[in-house]
């Protein structure tokens, strides 16, 4: 696998039996020696699952114009953020479709921190820099220097507490603190992509191996990409390249809750407003198979015998069975007999609500 980046934890993954695969330009562990199902179960059933998500990117935004800049390039209302708060948001292009989905961390009135998707990093950074020039704002891509770990599951707080100098109990859901991790400054947020309580931990690469090793010694277990995707799909969380892309707007993707049309001008606003007025071209639904099989990405979805759309993410959920997110024609979002074509056969399905399994995040 040439031309792929390795995170500072590469050797740890290999030593733990990690099966390394190419992912967003990195060699990442898809699973470790116990397999994806056991990893999934460990996170869902009270453990502390440790994920290396260093492939994700980080951009620091500073300057007197940082707020005005972020109001213009992101969809959510950054003026609502308080210091120490995290916000789910998106970058759109002028057509109102997604460049990326991101999280915005407010450090101060003049300093913010963005977490972006690995596959979109260079595109995002170029987009941000191109617009920062118009504002008194400076963007710095810190991705190469930053290790990002996620520690997820009911035992996450107890496993992380010994390594940090801040009482984690004081960090609420979608809040963060600048803390010393293993004696070195970092950021810890109560956020995640699993539907369990847990944290995301931003640290310099220099302490990555020490922190990883100490968390494992404290009872955490490593979790690969396959289990991570199972956990996020069960929550119905959107993933770039699947539910969201540069082919859909927040209107189709059910992400108008992070798109604040009343906050002033931002890139893509007019296009989204127009789409909202005209109605979506397709709609995202959650479905569950009632027949046997596993609904998978790109499988065709039929309504009343007519092809209506396709699956964007699908899986066998140990708790909920065959579940999937799919785009269908707007008129099929709420009614009509659903089926999924699996190897040429129609398998019956029904609409359901998200999340597919109960979320245990701390609200």
């Amino acid at each position: 696998m040439t031309g792929l980046q390795k995170t500072p934890l590469y050797d740890e993954h290999v030593a733990l039996g990690g099966k390394m695969v190419p992912f967003a330009g990195f060699e990442m562990p898809v699973q470790y020696k116990n397999g994806a199902l056991k990893e999934y179960t460990f996170v869902r059933e009270g453990g502390a699952g440790l994920f290396d998500i260093t492939h994700m990117g980080q951009v620091r935004v500073t300057g007197a114009g940082a707020l005005a800049f972020l109001q213009y390039v992101t969809t959510n209302d950054v003026s609502n953020l308080i210091e120490g708060q995290v916000q789910y948001s998106a970058l759109l292009n002028e057509a109102g479709t997604f460049i990326d989905d991101i999280t915005t961390y407010k450090i101060s009135d003049t300093e913010y921190y963005l977490c972006i998707n690995a596959a979109n990093r260079h595109k995002d950074v170029a987009h941000l820099q191109a617009h920062a020039e118009r504002f008194d704002a400076c963007t710095v891509d810190e991705s190469d220097d930053t290790t990002l770990l996620a520690l997820q599951g009911a035992a996450a707080q107890a496993a992380l507490q010994p390594l940090v100098d801040t009482d984690l109990e004081s960090i609420g859901y979608y809040k963060f603190a600048r803390v010393n991790v293993h004696g070195t400054p970092g950021i810890v947020s109560r956020t995640g992509y699993t539907g369990e309580d847990g944290f995301e931990i931003y640290i310099p690469n220099s302490i990555a191996v020490d922190v990883w090793t100490q968390l494992l010694a404290g009872g955490a277990e490593p979790i690969g990409l396959a289990a991570r995707d199972m956990l996020r799909t069960e929550m119905g969380y959107a993933l770039y390249g699947h539910e969201i892309s540069d082919a859909v707007t927040p209107v189709e993707a059910k992400l108008m809750w992070i798109t604040k049309l009343d906050k002033g001008d931002f890139i893509g606003k007019q296009a989204v407003a127009d789409r909202k007025a005209a109605g979506p071209q397709k709609r995202l639904i959650a479905l569950k198979l009632t027949g046997r099989g596993i609904p998978r990405e790109h499988y065709a979805v039929f309504v009343d015998g007519e092809k209506s759309g396709e699956i964007t993410s699908g899986m066998h959920s140990p708790m909920a069975g065959g579940v999937a997110l799919a785009y269908v024609k707007p008129e099929h979002a709420e009614s009509g007999e659903l089926s999924v074509e699996i190897r040429g056969k129609q398998v019956a399905a029904e609409r359901t609500t998200l999340p597919f399994v109960r979320s245990n995040v701390r609200r």
Partner: protein, 124 residues
């Protein structure tokens, strides 16, 4: 990894146990390990006639869908229905309770390897 001496193997990582007119099919230990956790098995219908080398079943792991090919031709006479609710047998006991189907042997077979030949094939 185990490769029992009393079975024959294919280059597609299936095994076959030939017992008189009957052949039992499954996937090898190597195959189940490479696929990871099996979460779904689509079994053939009883009475179906399959050619040697034809895809007769599907196994799905957490991330992948894989066809399973028949080592020898035949008519399906029995399928391992337990796999419908407990597909994990393919992982935990690939040569035993993880068997997939039995056929009444017909005409034709793909290249079958002995245990030693399969071991050598895996090493190459």
């Amino acid at each position: 990894m185990t490769i029992p001496a009393d079975l024959k193997y294919t280059k597609e990582h299936e095994w076959v146990r030939i017992d008189g007119d009957t052949a039992t099919f499954g996937i090898s230990d190597h195959a189940q390990e490479a696929l990871g956790d099996i979460v779904f098995v689509e079994l053939p219908e009883i009475g179906r006639t399959i050619d040697a080398g034809e895809a007769y079943a599907v196994v799905e792991s957490v991330k992948a869908v894989s066809d399973v090919y028949a080592p020898v031709a035949g008519e399906v006479i029995e399928v391992n229905e337990a796999l419908e609710s407990e597909p994990e047998h393919v992982n935990t006991d690939p040569y035993g309770s993880g068997w997939i189907a039995k056929v009444n042997i017909g005409d034709g077979q793909v290249e079958l390897l002995t245990d030693d030949e399969y071991t050598t094939f895996l090493e190459e």
